[in-house]
Symmetry: C2
Subunit: 157 residues, 2 copies
């Protein structure tokens, strides 16, 4: 519980700080991209530690399952609730109670702030995949808080 | 281990980002003070959770012992190694292997960067104490990495 709280509070502070530091024309976009970049590097670092003793992955789907189970549990204390794929390089990871959104009120009025709360995690997934040799684009969308979908589009080399 | 790594990576990212965002004349001072402020708010939040079910503290020393044992263990996975006080409002908390310094090389050449790696934690302690009703000034110093001393000066009302 302690660690969860530490991560949550730290994550909020970062959003707040980056948001206030990035002032300018397209400040919102820059804020989101800075957060995404931070997530990317953290994801790269984390996945190295997590996979230190795991056997080699069979294929892309095997990698995605690892992200949904082991990786997600380590970071967010729960698994992804649903993983779907079109078997053509698109994966949708659904978390019905995404931990970094649970602090936000569930009303629609905060919906516009959701991207800031998801950017770090998009980067986290992209960074983790990247260090497993899978190049991707990760986006997120919220329909009803605190549920959330992450879409991973694999970039073929 | 996962949580430790997450906190460490995130902490490094914050330092790097704040450091690059705060450009100007006294950038180093501002960077440190921004980090200290973040730590302060995180410390305030954390201590509320940690002390939810603990009995009321007897006195100031009792509060400090809680910080050195329970609080430190939750955040840094180890206790403070040595607590000293002059019984006049000054406490020195020594950590012989401070976790946020262990990533830095132990050589003297990185000594000048140490303040950035300690500022968040100074704020963390100040914020925790503040929410326990103890107003303080917290500073840190490193003589040999990764050992580190935090000095807490209680501000009497």
């Amino acid at each position: 519980m302690a660690d969860e709280a530490l991560f949550q509070f730290l994550h909020s502070e970062i959003i707040q700080y980056v948001n206030s530091a990035e002032t300018g024309e397209s400040e919102n976009g820059r804020c989101v991209s800075k957060l995404e970049n931070m997530g990317f590097r953290v994801g790269q670092g984390l996945i190295e530690r997590f996979t230190k003793d795991t056997p080699r992955f069979k294929d892309e789907l095997d990698v995605m399952k690892f992200i949904c189970k082991d990786f997600w549990t380590s970071v967010f204390k729960k698994q992804i609730d649903n993983l779907r794929t079109n078997h053509q390089g698109i994966y949708v990871l659904q978390d019905n109670k995404f931990r970094l959104l649970t602090q936000l009120s569930a009303g629609k009025q905060y919906m516009e702030h959701a991207p800031k709360f998801l950017a770090f995690t998009c980067g986290l997934v992209r960074g983790a995949l990247s260090n497993l040799g899978v190049k991707s684009i990760v986006t997120a969308e919220v329909s009803v808080m605190p549920a959330c979908k992450f879409q991973v589009m694999i970039q073929k080399m």
